[in-house]
C-alpha cells in the first residue's frame, strides 16, 4: 500500500499504521479514508495529500 504525504505540513500517512486517533484503522488504504478526514497534524483536507515515495 502506498504512503501519502501532506503537502502543507509533511505529515506522512502510512496505511499500515492508519490513523486510529481519527477512527482510521491500521491497514486502511489512503483511497478508502472518508472524504471528510483531515490531516491529524495540521488540519488540511485529503485533497492536499500527494503520493509519497
Amino acid at each position: 500500500m502506498h504512503k501519502w504525504i501532506c503537502m502543507a505540513c509533511d505529515y506522512i500517512y502510512d496505511p499500515e499504521a492508519g490513523d486510529p486517533d481519527s477512527g482510521i484503522p491500521p491497514g486502511t488504504p489512503f483511497e478508502d479514508i472518508p472524504a471528510d478526514w483531515i490531516c491529524p497534524n495540521c488540519g488540511v483536507g485529503k485533497d492536499l495529500f500527494e503520493p509519497y515515495g
Binding site: 503537502m7 502543507a8 505540513c9 509533511d10 488540511v44 485533497d47 492536499l48
Partner: protein, 394 residues
C-alpha cells in the same frame, strides 16, 4: 508606475508600493514592495500574467489602456492571493471577453476569495499549454510556493519564466531588472524566510525543473526582474538545503536585566569558542530580521525571564513564529531567570513541536546568576560549540 518594456511586446504593467511598511499585518517591509503584473501581446492573443493589489487596481487598468489593449483574451493567475488576484474582478469587468486561465485548485481558491463566476475560467493542468499565436505558454504546477494552488508560467519562445511569489523580494525600486544584486538577494532572503521557508523541502524539485528550462529571465510578482537568474537560483538551493551554518541565534527578552546578563555572558562565551552569533532582543524585534537569521542557523537559544509562571509573552510569540516558519535549525536551548518558579522551559519547547531539533540542557537560575550559573552558561557554550564541531561546521 507607467508601463515598462521588458522585450518587444512584453511589458511590466504592475505597480510599485513605495509606502507600504507592513504585509499581512505581520511582516515588516522596510523597502516597500511591488505588485508585478505582465502583459504579453502575442500575434493572435493578448494575455495578462497576474494582477495587482486591489487598492492600486486603477494603475493596472490605466497601464493596459495606455498600451492600447482593446481586447484582452487571457488573465493567467499563478497565485490566488489577493495582492495579485484582487484586481482580477476589475479586469474581467473592463474586458468582458477575457478569461481567467489557471489550474483547477487555483480556480477554486479564486472562486472562494473573489467569487469569480465559473464561466470565466479556462482550466489548465500541469504541463498543458496555451497559444498566443507566435508564442506558447506552458503551465507548471508548483504547490506551496507559498499556497497550495501556486504555479509557474513559461513563455517558451522567449525563455521567460513567471514564478509568482517564488524567488521574489519585497522591494520598491525603480530598477526594472535586478541591478543591486546584493540588495535584492538580501531582500529575497527576507522574503524566503518570512513566506517560503515552511515549504522548503519541495523547492529542490522545483529548482531542478527550472534548471531544466534554463530561463533567460525570471519574472516574479514582487521585486525586480532577474535577467541573470543564476544567483537567486543558487541562493534558493542553499537556503532550502538541509545544510546549516556555524551560527547560533540568541533570542532574548529581559525585564530587570538579569536574563540579559545571562544572554550576554552566553553570547561572549559562544564568540570565544568560534561560533558566529546572531542576537535579537525580542522586544520590538523586526520579525523579518529574526526570520532571516533562522534560515541558516544550526542553533537557537531562547532567553527569557519567567513572567508569572511562564515565558515572557515576547519569547512565546517568537517561538510560536519560529514553529510556523520551520527553519532547519538542529539544536535549541532555553535559558532564563525566575523569582519563584514556573514551567517556562516546557512551555517554550512545547511551542516548537514542528522543529526537528535536539534540545540541549536548559540553564535556569533563581534570581541573579552566581558564579556557578555563569559556569553553566559556559558549559552550554561548550556543548553548542561541540555540536557545531561534530557537524563539521566549526
Amino acid at each position: 508606475m507607467n508601463p515598462r518594456r521588458i522585450r518587444d511586446n512584453i511589458w511590466a504593467v504592475g505597480t510599485i508600493d513605495w509606502d507600504r511598511r507592513l504585509f499581512d499585518d505581520l511582516i515588516p517591509l522596510p523597502e516597500g514592495t511591488s505588485y508585478n503584473s505582465y502583459l504579453l501581446k502575442g500575434s493572435e492573443k493578448t494575455a495578462l500574467i497576474d494582477g495587482v493589489d486591489p487598492a492600486v487596481e486603477q494603475v493596472l487598468l490605466d497601464n493596459l489602456r495606455s498600451l492600447g489593449v482593446e481586447k484582452l483574451d487571457y488573465i493567467i493567475s499563478n497565485h490566488a492571493e489577493q495582492d495579485h488576484s484582487g484586481a482580477i474582478p476589475a479586469v474581467l469587468e473592463a474586458w468582458p471577453e477575457s478569461m481567467v486561465v489557471t489550474n483547477p485548485r487555483c480556480a477554486g481558491m479564486l472562486t472562494d476569495h473573489l467569487h469569480l463566476p465559473e464561466e470565466r475560467f479556462i482550466l489548465k493542468d500541469d504541463g498543458e499549454t496555451l497559444s498566443l499565436g507566435d508564442w506558447t505558454l506552458q503551465f507548471f504546477l508548483a504547490p506551496f510556493v507559498h499556497w497550495p494552488e501556486t504555479q509557474f508560467t513559461w513563455l517558451t519562445e522567449e525563455k521567460i519564466l513567471f514564478t509568482g511569489d517564488f524567488l521574489g523580494s519585497h522591494q520598491a525600486t525603480s530598477d526594472l531588472f535586478v541591478r543591486d544584486e546584493a540588495g535584492t538577494l538580501f531582500g529575497a532572503k527576507r522574503y524566503y524566510a518570512e513566506i517560503m521557508m515552511p515549504y522548503r523541502k519541495k523547492f529542490p524539485k522545483y529548482l531542478d525543473r527550472i534548471d531544466g528550462l534554463a530561463p533567460e529571465i525570471i519574472a516574479t510578482t514582487h521585486g525586480p526582474i532577474y535577467d541573470r537568474p543564476a544567483s537567486i537560483l543558487e541562493a534558493y538551493r542553499e537556503w532550502s538545503s538541509d545544510e546549516v551554518k556555524n551560527e547560533a541565534v540568541v533570542a532574548y527578552v529581559s525585564m530587570h536585566d538579569t536574563t540579559a546578563k545571562m544572554a550576554g555572558h552566553l553570547i561572549n562565551a559562544l564568540i570565544d569558542r568560534g561560533v558566529r552569533v546572531k542576537v535579537h532582543n525580542l522586544t520590538g524585534v523586526d520579525v523579518g530580521e529574526l526570520a532571516i537569521d533562522l534560515v541558516d542557523a544550526a542553533t537557537v537559544v531562547w532567553a527569557s525571564p519567567i513572567v508569572g509562571v511562564g515565558p515572557h509573552p515576547n519569547a512565546a510569540y517568537a517561538a510560536f513564529l519560529a514553529n510556523v516558519l520551520k527553519p532547519k535549525v538542529k539544536y535549541t536551548a532555553v535559558i532564563g531567570s525566575y523569582g519563584w518558579g514556573g514551567k517556562m522551559v516546557e512551555q517554550l519547547l512545547g511551542l516548537l513541536k514542528n522543529l526537528k531539533v535536539e534540545v540541549l540542557d536548559p540553564v535556569m537560575v533563581k534570581g541573579f546568576p552566581r558564579e556557578e550559573d555563569f559556569a553553566s552558561l559556559d558549559g552550554l557554550a561548550d556543548t553548542i560549540a561541540g555540536k557545531h564541531r561534530a557537524e563539521g561546521l566549526l
